[in-house]
Assembly symmetry: D2
Homo-oligomer: 341 residues x 4
C-alpha cells in the first residue's frame, strides 16, 4: 500500500493532534516535524515515532521524500509557508484561516495554483458525521430548496486575552468555521452580510476591539437566508447545532452528548452534557479530514474543502467585521472588488 | 361563585373558539354574540347556549349586565370597538394586533386608560405551558443574564391571497406574536430592529408587497441580542420553538408533537409530527388566557398581557417593516418619536 | 343533537371526574348522582348543575329518563349494581375491575348480555392518544407480527394501607390495566402467566399479603411473549411506557412530560418530569372513553372496551396471583375451567 | 514507557479486531499471531506490522518475551489454551464464553489461580461509556437501592445455521453478555432464573434445539428483580438498552445512533437508526477493555472483569437453559451444587 510521506510545520496543540492522527491513519508516513522551538516534544512518543524533529523548516521543504506538508504554525506565518511549500512542489494541508489578510490569501492561492499542488484547508467540521449527513440530505434534495440556514456555534469557554489579541477577532477566528459550514450547506454563495454584535461576557474582548456575542445574518445569491449565532462562552458545553429549512422540509443536527444516559429522580430528570472540548467533539472529523487529503493525493480524488473555500470564508469574515464596525449590511461584491485590487 | 358576564363582537373562527372556551370555563356567563352576519351560527350549539345572537353591537354595548367584551372582529374595526367598549365601561379582551396604525392604537389605549377598564390583548402564546416554563426559568435567574433570545416561528401553510391582502403584512400579522414573546422573555425593551427578508414561497406575497421568509435581529436596551426566523410555510407542521441563552445556561422549548410514539423499521425511525394547526397547538393556552382575564376582573388580579404589550409589539412590527423597506437597522426611539406626534 | 341522559352511582374521586367530563362533553345530560353519603357535593358546582343528588340508587334505576349509568362505587358493590342496571334496561359504564371474584363477574356479564344493554369497562388507557397510536401502528401491520410486548407501569406513590387492604391486591388493582393493555395491543389471548414479585418498598404490602414490585411474563396463544414490570413507587413520577416489538420493527410510547423544556447549565442538563398524577396523565383519555360510550349508544357504534375485556383482564390477574402464591407458571385454561364451574 | 508484549491465538474476526486495537493502543507490542490457518493474513497490514504469524501455538507459549496472550479461538479450544497459557506464566485475555462446560471453566480458572496470572474475560459491554455511566450512577447511590434491572438486547440479524450449531445456544452465546451486565449493574448475585422463550423468527433455531426470542426473569439474592428480553433479529438495528430502577430513581441508557440528525418532511419525521453492527456499536468499548488489561499488568491495577465473572455468567446461562427445557424456575444454588461436583 502506498503512503504519503509528510512533514508538519508547527508543533503546537493542533500540530500534535494531526501528528497523532497521521501516525494512526495507516495512510501516511510521518517523517518530520519542525517548529521554532521543538524541545517540548523531546521524551514524548512523537520523538520515538517521528524520524526528524527539527527547528529548520528547510529540513522539510528540501526533503525530496516528503510529498505533503501540514501547516499548523501560527496564522501570521501561513502565507510564507504556503508559498514555500508550493514552490517546493509539496501538497499542502493548511489550518484555518489561511491568513488574516485577504489579498495575501489570494496571492498564496495563486502560487499554489501555479505550482499545481493539492491544497486543503482545515475546516474539520465538514467531516463531522452529523453535519455531513445534513449536507447529504440537503444535496439529495430531501428538504427541497433551502430557504433558511441556521447555525448555533458557541464555545464553552472564553479564550485568554493573549489568544484574543492574536486571533484576528471572533469573526476570523471562530465564526470562520460557521461561514464555511453555511456555504458548504447552501451550495450557493453569500451575497450580503449583516451583523449585530455585543460585548456581554468579559471586558477583555472590548478592550481588544473584539466582540464576544453576535448574530450574523446572511443573504445568499439565490435569495435564501442564513443566520449564525455565536457566543464565546456557553457554560453548559460546546454548542454546535445546524439546521437547514427548505420548501420540502427541515434537517437538523443536535449536539453530541457524552452519553445517552438519563437519570430520573424526585428532584430532576437529567441527561448528559454536550461534549465540552472541540478536540473531543470533532475527534472523528479530524481523522476523516486527513484521510480525504491522503486519498486526494494517492488516488487523485477531488478535495471537498479547497483553498477557494478558505478564501471565501475569509471574505465573509471580512464582510462581517466591516458590517459590525460600520453598522450596516455589507455586500460581498464590494469586498471582492477590494480584494481584486 | 361569581362569574363575568360577557359579550363577543365578531363570530369568525377565533370568536367561536373563544365562545366555546368561555362556555366551558365556568368563569363566564356568555350572554351575547354580535356580528354583521350572524346566520352561520344558527342551528349550532352556540344558538342553544347563548341567549343573544345579534347583528347589532349596541345590543352588547348597552347591555348593563355585560361586564366584559371580547373583540374578535377584523383588525380594522378594533379601534372603534375598543373606544366604544371602554366608554361603555366594559372590560376588554382584544385580539391581536390592536390595529394596523400605531397612532390609533395609542389613542384607543388612552381611552381605555381614562375609562379605567381592564384591557388584555390576545397574545395567547404567553399562556402556553412550555413557553411559560421558559419564562419562569429565565425570571428565576436559572440561566443567568440573557445574552441571546431565539425564536423559530413558522406557519405550516401559506394563507390565501385574500388573507394576505388584509393581514397588515407578515410582520404585523404573524411576527407580532414573536415580537411580543421575545419582549416577554427578555424583560427589557427592544432598542433596534434589523430585517433580512425574502420571497421564496409563492409570488402572491411579492405581488401584495409582502414577504414570506425573514430573519429579524433585535438589539435590546441592555445590549443583549434577539433573533427570530419566520417562514409562512413549513410543510412538516407548525414550528414553534424558543431558546434563551444566558451567561449561566440556556433554556429551550421544543415543538409539541401529536404523540410520543416512535416507530422503528428496517427503512426508517420515525417520530410524530409537530401539531399542525395553531388552534390545536395552543388549545390549552387559549383556555388559560381567558381564565386570567376572568380572574383579573373577579379577583382584581394584574394581567400578564396588557394594552401596552400590544402597543409595543406593534411598534416593533412597524420598525421591522421599515427596516425591510429601507434595508437598514431601525431604532425604536426613531419610531417612538413618530408615534408620539 | 340527541344526548344520553345519565346517572352516576358513586360520588368519590372517579365519580366526580366522570361527572365533570360528562358535563363538559356535550354528549350527555347528567341528571342524577347517587351515593350512600352525598353531603360532600353540597355547595359545589355539581349541586348547581346536576338536578338530582340522592342517597337512593333507586332514584336512578327507576328514572325512565335515564338511559345509561356510570358505576363508580367501590368494587365490592359493582356486581349488584350491574345486575340492577341491566335489569332496569340501562346501558352501563363500569369502573375497573368489574369485581374481585371472577365467577361473579361472569354472572354479572351474563345478566348484561340477557338484558341486551351496552357495557363498557373503564380501561381508560385504551383511549390514551399515545397508546392508541401504538395500537393502530400494530394493527396496520407496520411492525409486522408482534414477538415481544412490553409494558412498564409504575405508580408514583404507594397507596395508603387502608387502600391496600380493599384493593384486591396489586395485580387486581393496578396491573389489571396492564393486562388489559397487553391483550389490546397483542390482538391475541394470553395462554400462560409467570410472576416474579417482591416486597421492596414498604412492609405494609407484605403484612397485607400483597406485593409492591413485580415482573410478569406472559405467553400468548400465538407463541409471542409479553412482559410487564410494576412498581408501586416511582419517585420520579408516573411511569407509563409501552413497546411492541415485531418481525418488521418496533413501536413504543414514551412518558408524557409536563413540558418540552430543557434547561442546560454548567451543572446539569434537565428535562421535565413525567406527569405525576394519573388523572393528569390520562386526562384526555378519560374524556375520550366517555365519548365513545355516548357514541355507542347514540349511533349504535361498537365499543372498543367491552365486558368481556373486563372479564379477561381479571382472569389474567387471577392467574398472576396464583403464579405468585404457588411460584409456578399458571395456564389460563386451568383458570377458565375453574371460572366455568 | 513500558509495554506489554502479546501474542494472539486465533485470527478470526474478533482476533483481528483485537490485533488492530492492540497495534493502535500504544500499550502493547504485538509480537505474534497464531492460527491453525494463517494464510488469510498474508498480504494484509497485519503481516507488515506483526513480526510472527504462525500456525504453531507453541511459538507464542514458549516465547519468553511474550507476557500476555489474547485467546480468540473458537470456544471449544479455550480451556486448553487457558491452561497452557497459565502454566507458561502468561497473563490471559479470553473471549467469552470461557467454555460451554461449567466444570471445565471451573478447572481452567483453578489453573489460572494457581499460576497467579491475570485473567480477563471479554465482556466488552462493561467498557461501553453509556453502560459504564449507568453502572457508576448506580454505584454512587443516585437511584438508591436497585429494585428492577432491565436489559433489552436484540441482535440485528439472525446468525447462519452453522453458527447456531456451534454457538452453545442463545443463552450461552448471546444472553451471556446480558447475564454479565445485569450482575455487574446489580452488585449482587443472581439467586433464581425463570425463562419464557419462543421460536418466532426462523425454523433453523428450533431444528437445532435452540430459541430465538426470550424473556428471562432473574431474582437476585437481595430480593431485587431483573428482566432481560432477547431477540435474534431486530430489523431496525442492534438494540442495546439498559435501565436500573431503584427506590430513589431510575437510570437508563438509550441506543447509540449513527448521527443526531433529524429530517422532517410533510410525510415523516425521521431520526437515525441505532448502530447496526456490534463491532461498530462497541468500537470504543473494545479499545477500552484492552487498555484496562494492559494497565492491570503494567501498573498492577485490579481488573473490573475477572474469570469469576466469566464463570458466574456461564452459570446463569446454564440455569436459563435448564429453566427453558424444564419449564420451571431454576435456583442457582441447585447448579452451584452440580458445578462443584
Amino acid at each position: 500500500m502506498k503512503k504519503v510521506t509528510v512533514g508538519i510545520i508547527g508543533a503546537g496543540r493542533i500540530g500534535q493532534l494531526h501528528a497523532d492522527n497521521i501516525l494512526r491513519s495507516g495512510l501516511f508516513h510521518l517523517k518530520s516535524i519542525s517548529d521554532i522551538s521543538i524541545d517540548h516534544l523531546k521524551g514524548t512518543h512523537l520523538e520515538q515515532q517521528v524520524p526528524v524533529l527539527t527547528t529548520q523548516t528547510d529540513d522539510i521543504l528540501k526533503d525530496p521524500e516528503i510529498n505533503a506538508v501540514f501547516i499548523c504554525s501560527s496564522t501570521d506565518t501561513h502565507v510564507d509557508f504556503i508559498k514555500a511549500c508550493a514552490k517546493a512542489g509539496k501538497h499542502i494541508f493548511c489550518e484555518k484561516p489561511i491568513s488574516f489578510h485577504i489579498e495575501e490569501t489570494k496571492e498564496a492561492l495563486q502560487v499554489v495554483q501555479e505550482a499545481g499542488v493539492k491544497f486543503q484547508v482545515g475546516f474539520n467540521r465538514r467531516f463531522d458525521k452529523h453535519f455531513r449527513k445534513v449536507f447529504e440530505t440537503v444535496r439529495a434534495g430531501k428538504i427541497g430548496k433551502p430557504h433558511i440556514l441556521k447555525i448555533t456555534s458557541r464555545d464553552p469557554q472564553a479564550p485568554d486575552e493573549s489568544y484574543i489579541q492574536r486571533s484576528g477577532g471572533m469573526f476570523m477566528d471562530m465564526t470562520i468555521h460557521d461561514f464555511d459550514m453555511i456555504r458548504y450547506l447552501s451550495g450557493t454563495e453569500v451575497a450580503e452580510v449583516s451583523v449585530s454584535a455585543a460585548n456581554l461576557i468579559d471586558p477583555k474582548f472590548k478592550r481588544n476591539n473584539d466582540v464576544d456575542t453576535a448574530i450574523i445574518t446572511l443573504t445568499f445569491e439565490d435569495g435564501s437566508l442564513g443566520v449564525i449565532d455565536n457566543s464565546r462562552q456557553a457554560v453548559y458545553g460546546y454548542d454546535q447545532r445546524i439546521e437547514v429549512f427548505g420548501d420540502e422540509g427541515v434537517v437538523s443536527a443536535e449536539n453530541e452528548r457524552y452519553t445517552n444516559v438519563q437519570i430520573s429522580t424526585k428532584d430532576s430528570i437529567t441527561v448528559d452534557h454536550p461534549k465540552y472540548f472541540f478536540l473531543d467533539r470533532y475527534k472523528e472529523a479530524y481523522v476523516a479530514e486527513i484521510a480525504e487529503f491522503a486519498k486526494a493525493i494517492l488516488e487523485e480524488k477531488p478535495l471537498s474543502c479547497s483553498g477557494e473555500d478558505g478564501y471565501k470564508a475569509e471574505l465573509i469574515a471580512l464582510a462581517a467585521q466591516l458590517s459590525w464596525k460600520e453598522k450596516r449590511s455589507v455586500s460581498l461584491s464590494e469586498l471582492n472588488a477590494v480584494a481584486v485590487k
